[in-house]
């Protein structure tokens, strides 16, 4: 890679044109004066204001503002999200009773046990009553139920051999 390759020679000659671009006449006469004046003005202002100090110590906040400024899509999305949040807040604020009822009111006691309502209709027949437990302390199958006696089999205790496998 030789930078003085002849094929770049024409380009380098064109780039010379840039050196002929000059600011308005007398521009540099006042330049240093303006710089010094701005430095003096900055010193006269003294320390930064409280807001400058607060926001200056939060670079993420500055970056957020800059990104909102430079990216319209991001700014639009941010504004939409903010509007949505406000709308949601307004809607929820109009229904305080509903929220309070949902959260605070205890569930109503029903007259019948919950299991009755959950029991399929087929289980309500007398032949299937042994499946129904009255409460959690009773066995699931009540062998003293009259329905057991009407069944073609009777339960027996069985011992299975544990050896000789």
């Amino acid at each position: 890679m030789n930078e003085s390759e002849p094929n770049f020679e024409l380009l380098r000659r064109v780039l010379v044109l840039k050196r002929h671009e000059t600011p308005p006449p007398g521009y540099f006469n006042n330049f240093s004066r303006q710089v010094i004046a701005r430095i003096r003005a900055g010193e006269a202002e003294g320390p930064a204001s409280l807001s400058d100090q607060v926001f200056g110590s939060m670079p993420w906040f500055i970056r957020l503002l800059q990104s909102l400024e430079t990216k319209p899509v991001f700014a639009g999305g941010f504004a939409t999200a903010l509007c949505g949040l406000l709308l949601f807040g307004a809607v929820m604020a109009r229904q305080p009773d509903y929220v309070a009822q949902t959260i605070l009111q205890p569930p109503q006691q029903s007259a019948a046990p919950l299991i009755a309502s959950a029991t399929p209709t087929t289980l309500s027949s007398p032949a299937n009553q042994f499946f129904i437990a009255d409460n959690s302390t009773n066995p699931v199958i009540n062998f003293s139920s009259p329905a057991i006696g009407s069944m073609p089999f009777s339960p027996q205790l069985t011992a299975f051999p544990t050896s000789g496998n």
Binding site: R13, R19, H20
Partner: protein
């Protein structure tokens, strides 16, 4: 007047003149007269670098002034490890690159006029003479095309071209300003020239 005309430079870090060291020392102690002298010494080069990077006079004016103000505020942190000139360049370049990143895709050219000497530069006249493929081209049109092509380059590539081919800095000086190695400077320069050559091919056909 030719802005920031390149001068032959050594590849080694130029030693700061003794009076510059004194001026920097006085400016660090708050002497604005000394700093005024430093500003006058480097204002043209700093302005030219920022201007060629932005192709906008108003932006260059603001950024160059802000660079000098920031340099004055940061003088206490200047340890003298590099020359004041390199340190100042670095501030201006970083400020300009940050500005350009924020202003991405919103390029607005505000070009300075060409000086009187441009029309008499034999190299430039050749590009707008009857022998060129684009006979209707004139210097102003070429100036606009050149600036548009430069603005298409990424900031690091544009900076290398500006500092080397326009400002005349050596590879080593550019490496110090950009805080990278010389190989990177060379490769960026090669790539940037290739890009520019492709975009300006209408003007760069040999006669």
């Amino acid at each position: 007047m030719i802005m920031a005309e390149p001068v032959a430079r050594n590849d080694s870090e130029p030693s700061a003149p003794a009076d510059e060291v004194v001026l920097v020392q006085r400016a660090r102690q708050g002497d604005l007269t000394a700093y005024d002298e430093l500003v006058q010494r480097y204002q043209e080069r700093i302005y030219a670098t920022v201007y060629h990077m932005t192709s906008n006079h108003e932006d260059a004016n603001d950024l160059a002034q802000e660079s000098f103000i920031k340099a004055f505020q940061a003088l206490k942190s200047f340890k003298g490890g590099s020359s004041f000139y390199t340190w100042l360049y670095r501030i201006a370049v970083n400020k300009t690159i940050n500005f350009l990143k924020q202003r991405k895709n919103r390029i607005h050219l505000s070009l300075n006029d060409l000086d009187f000497n441009a029309e008499h530069d034999p190299d430039l006249v050749a590009f707008v003479s009857d022998k060129t493929p684009r006979r209707e081209a004139n210097l102003s049109e070429l100036q606009e095309k050149l600036n548009t092509a430069l603005m298409k380059l990424s900031e690091p590539h544009r900076l290398v071209v500006v500092l080397h081919d326009v400002q005349g800095l050596s590879h080593e000086e550019i490496a110090k300003v950009m805080d990278c190695n010389i190989g990177t400077v060379r490769s960026r320069l090669f790539y940037a020239r290739q890009q520019l050559q492709a975009w300006l091919s209408d003007y760069l056909k040999p006669t």
